[in-house]
Symmetry: C2
Subunit: 351 residues, 2 copies
Amino acid sequence: MVSKKIAVLPGDGIGPEVCRQAVKVLEAVAERFHHHFDLSSHPVGACAIDATGNPLPDETLAACRNADAVLLGAIGDPKYDHNPSAKVRPEQGLLRLRKELGLFANIRPVVAYDVLLAHSPLKRERIEGTDMLIFRELTGGIYFGEKGRTADGEVAYDHCTYSRPEIARIAHLAFQAAAGRRQHLTLVDKANVLETSRLWREVVREMATQYPEVTVDYLFVDNAAMQVILNPTQFDVILTENMFGDIISDEASVIAGSMGLLPSASIGAQVALFEPIHGSYPQAKGKGIANPIAAILSAAMLLAHLELHEEAALVREAVDEALNNGILTQELNHSAPYTTEEVGNYIAFWV
Amino acid sequence: MVSKKIAVLPGDGIGPEVCRQAVKVLEAVAERFHHHFDLSSHPVGACAIDATGNPLPDETLAACRNADAVLLGAIGDPKYDHNPSAKVRPEQGLLRLRKELGLFANIRPVVAYDVLLAHSPLKRERIEGTDMLIFRELTGGIYFGEKGRTADGEVAYDHCTYSRPEIARIAHLAFQAAAGRRQHLTLVDKANVLETSRLWREVVREMATQYPEVTVDYLFVDNAAMQVILNPTQFDVILTENMFGDIISDEASVIAGSMGLLPSASIGAQVALFEPIHGSYPQAKGKGIANPIAAILSAAMLLAHLELHEEAALVREAVDEALNNGILTQELNHSAPYTTEEVGNYIAFWV
Ligand SMILES: CC(C)[C@H](C(=O)O)[C@@H](O)C(=O)O
Ligand SMILES: CC(C)[C@H](C(=O)O)[C@@H](O)C(=O)O
């Protein structure tokens, strides 16, 4: 019996409804194993702007710092996307949270589930056996560089910078992960054009001597964008910078047949954060059609991070039950779809 | 009967062999229509570095400026990719050429050819009917911003900037193209994070009032990377900045079933340049297995640009003959592959 504090940040759009199912599953785990999970909810993103004017209220940040782990739903609202001059944006809450918590590594597994191969836009023979782990740097690069406009507003700029230590700390994690998997690391960059990419290549090449068992490949990002679709089984661990990781990991998610299945972990110096890779999907909000599995699998990653491995395995098995028995939301079960809540209930029941 | 100067820049890797076939086809067109094409070759890229120390020799640049159009093969050599500290790189030749010639708009058609659907990694029903035109900004953004290292070499930086006029000139071309097609323009950006993207959105939104018949959509680049695979037929014209265009257009190329089919045009203030979207593919160099069709279709775009529309149509028909009759290189014809030269000869014969 353990006692853990988990800060839950439901966020915007479908965030709250998928988080509710993940929380339900965590509660079922707590009951079954006689753990105590303190699952308090805190606002972030557009809903926090609406309530407090701040996309990351101090109280929310303090709760995250105090927690053993953070579970996040999704962030973003179209009313801000279409207002380029808005000074406060939901995404700032997420970016500041990543920075403040030092979440420098975002880790996304991409696995082709057998039962879902039919839903993938890719041909079965191309994707069968896909099992990759993407390491995306999350607190550096063009996301966090200086940005702004000239005084007359005619020119905009965004600066991308990377330092050796920023690259080295995530590269070590990626090398270690590769060493424990199929010993293959692919660095995705644009070293034929960007100086930051050349620094990434330098650091990774030097570090490779410390991991002699790991084979290292280097791919330009444009080529990587093709290879991920043409031949996804060639990849084991992919390592890349923030912006390229954003693009390539979302792209790779199509292999699985639904974004609604893919969890992610963001880890770093302090507390770790777990979230589905899908966005706030505002068109689906409140309709009961959002797939809660990515949020639930994020909760499973959270459990594993807290060293609750048996618990994590049980959640994954319950998800497999749902997948194998077609207890799935409409994008994966056209003929007899289940609601978000029904899928959550089913998985919680199996735990 | 017309007389035109076409500067041919074969470049590196498979560039020379595919260019040779495109030149052969242009010569066949000249003969058939009694035109005079002055097809002079000039070095660029790694081969130019080897010969002169300069990836874009003055003589080559002068020849391009003097020409009515430029046909390029491919640029790049792995010996430079794996040497991050090389001061002179083949790609600098290409980037400088784009800048010097003012080639601000790279235009790439992506079409799903019926006969090739079986070769696509994507399921037929997803891609049938795909017909998009990608406008990639080519002389701005992070490619051409300030870049470098701090004195101690520990920090690298790349600056991305865009000005209103830089965005407006390519956006006008994209709106005009959309107006003449299916009246649908999608701007791909990352306006939730980047200031440059917010400027793109501003300029495009303002400009949209001048093209009331065109419907404009805005997609974040991470979402676009999914949508291009999930539902490519939703796109008509895509407009985007330099780096996103590099990634998204290469990604979209997988739809066609082979990169070896896709041409591109780079146009701007002065002379226009035509090139296959594929790279120098050094592993295939000299083996006779490179697909010359992208280079030949680039030559067809070049002809259309010179207002030789009947000639361009004839080349495209000849390519269709090759496709329909399986006169194709190994990646599209496993059982009885033709060589680069045989495919070129066949197409030239049909012209
Ligand atoms: C919402 C946005 C700022 C965010 C990002 O680009 O990092 C999202 O796309 C993600 O990948 O988590
Ligand atoms: C070779 C490289 C510099 C170039 C680019 O990134 O622009 C290439 O990938 C392309 O797309 O033409």
